[in-house]
């Protein structure tokens, strides 16, 4: 999944910079000044494109979810079987972590209590979409006997998402991406 947009107008560059800062430092850990410094423009210029920080955050989330869902659609179109789809899903997380970033939504979930309501809604929308997509893949895999799990697919999907988000946070704190890889493999192995 490419986080950065193909087009690279000023709003896109601002979103790219804000996205990186947010994934590394969190919503309450970066400021317009940080973006301004990175892009060598003034804060006032940023406010022209994104009037408020809440607006910036909301549009950031919208783009992130859009890109994420596009990556999931690409997996669907690949003709991979259910197990391969799950592996590619985990790889999306790996790629984010490889850039020393947290999942944008995992970060925002931690800071949830301090977020403006529009951003909160986008975070929930992201996780709902992830659960639904994963549940579909899991059901498909169960039917083809490629995947095995007890109970409902949506519950199994939630365990996987929770495990991946948690493993990402921990691996990043330890500075050991390999921790995430090992946990990701185990989570997939439990579905074999």
């Amino acid at each position: 999944m490419a986080s950065a947009s193909l087009k690279s107008g000023t709003p896109q560059k601002i979103l790219d910079s804000a996205e990186r800062l947010l994934q590394v430092r969190g919503y309450n850990g970066f400021s317009y000044a940080d973006i301004a410094t990175a892009l060598r423009v003034t804060k006032a210029s940023l406010h022209y494109h994104f009037p408020s920080k809440a607006d910036l955050g909301r549009r950031l989330m919208q783009r992130y979810t859009q890109n994420f869902l596009a990556a999931l659609t690409a997996i669907d179109s690949s003709g991979a079987d259910a197990r391969e789809k799950l592996q590619r899903y985990v790889s999306i997380y790996s790629d984010v972590l490889a850039n020393n970033r947290m999942c944008l939504c995992g970060m925002l979930a931690a800071e949830y209590a301090t977020l403006p309501k529009p951003i909160r809604l986008e975070v929930i929308r992201f996780f709902d979409a992830n659960e639904a997509w994963l549940a579909g893949v899991l059901d498909e895999g169960r039917q083809s006997k490629a995947v095995h799990f007890a109970g409902s697919a949506i519950e199994a999907a939630r365990v996987l998402i929770a495990g991946l988000e948690g493993a990402m946070m921990l691996a990043r704190s330890y500075g050991e991406a390999a921790r995430f890889e090992r946990t990701g493999r185990r989570l997939l192995a439990e579905l074999a």
Copy 2:
């Protein structure tokens, strides 16, 4: 596990208030002013007991880890078998979430990139201790055939911790503690 201290001098009250704020809003989401308002004292008074925010955070983490390890020791002394110990371990997380709080260290892990180094070290110390304790219980359970898992105990412990931390973050965002309970049960079931 009781987060609040039995003694309740001023430093303890400050730590109690800061702990709650940090678990709900994160390290970058609360200020000395928030604590001062809650305790109806001035900010200057807080600085007398905890000169800097970094110092406050570090001592908060030290107390949290101490209380957490005491809770683990209590489980060890209870004569419970390995499976019961694991269930009680999950219950510690449930109790924290029941107060609408995140695990203090899960929160700090998300904000890791912005933390003063002394606090970072305490966060790692917490997770190391948790992994070690869990790995011990898992090995004990495997020997008594009460618990089953592939690979090393430390790896299985990491999957469990990641799953619990992630499930906590998500359940709190959705405002549905039941999400955590269901994921917790599934994570334990995978060790049956």
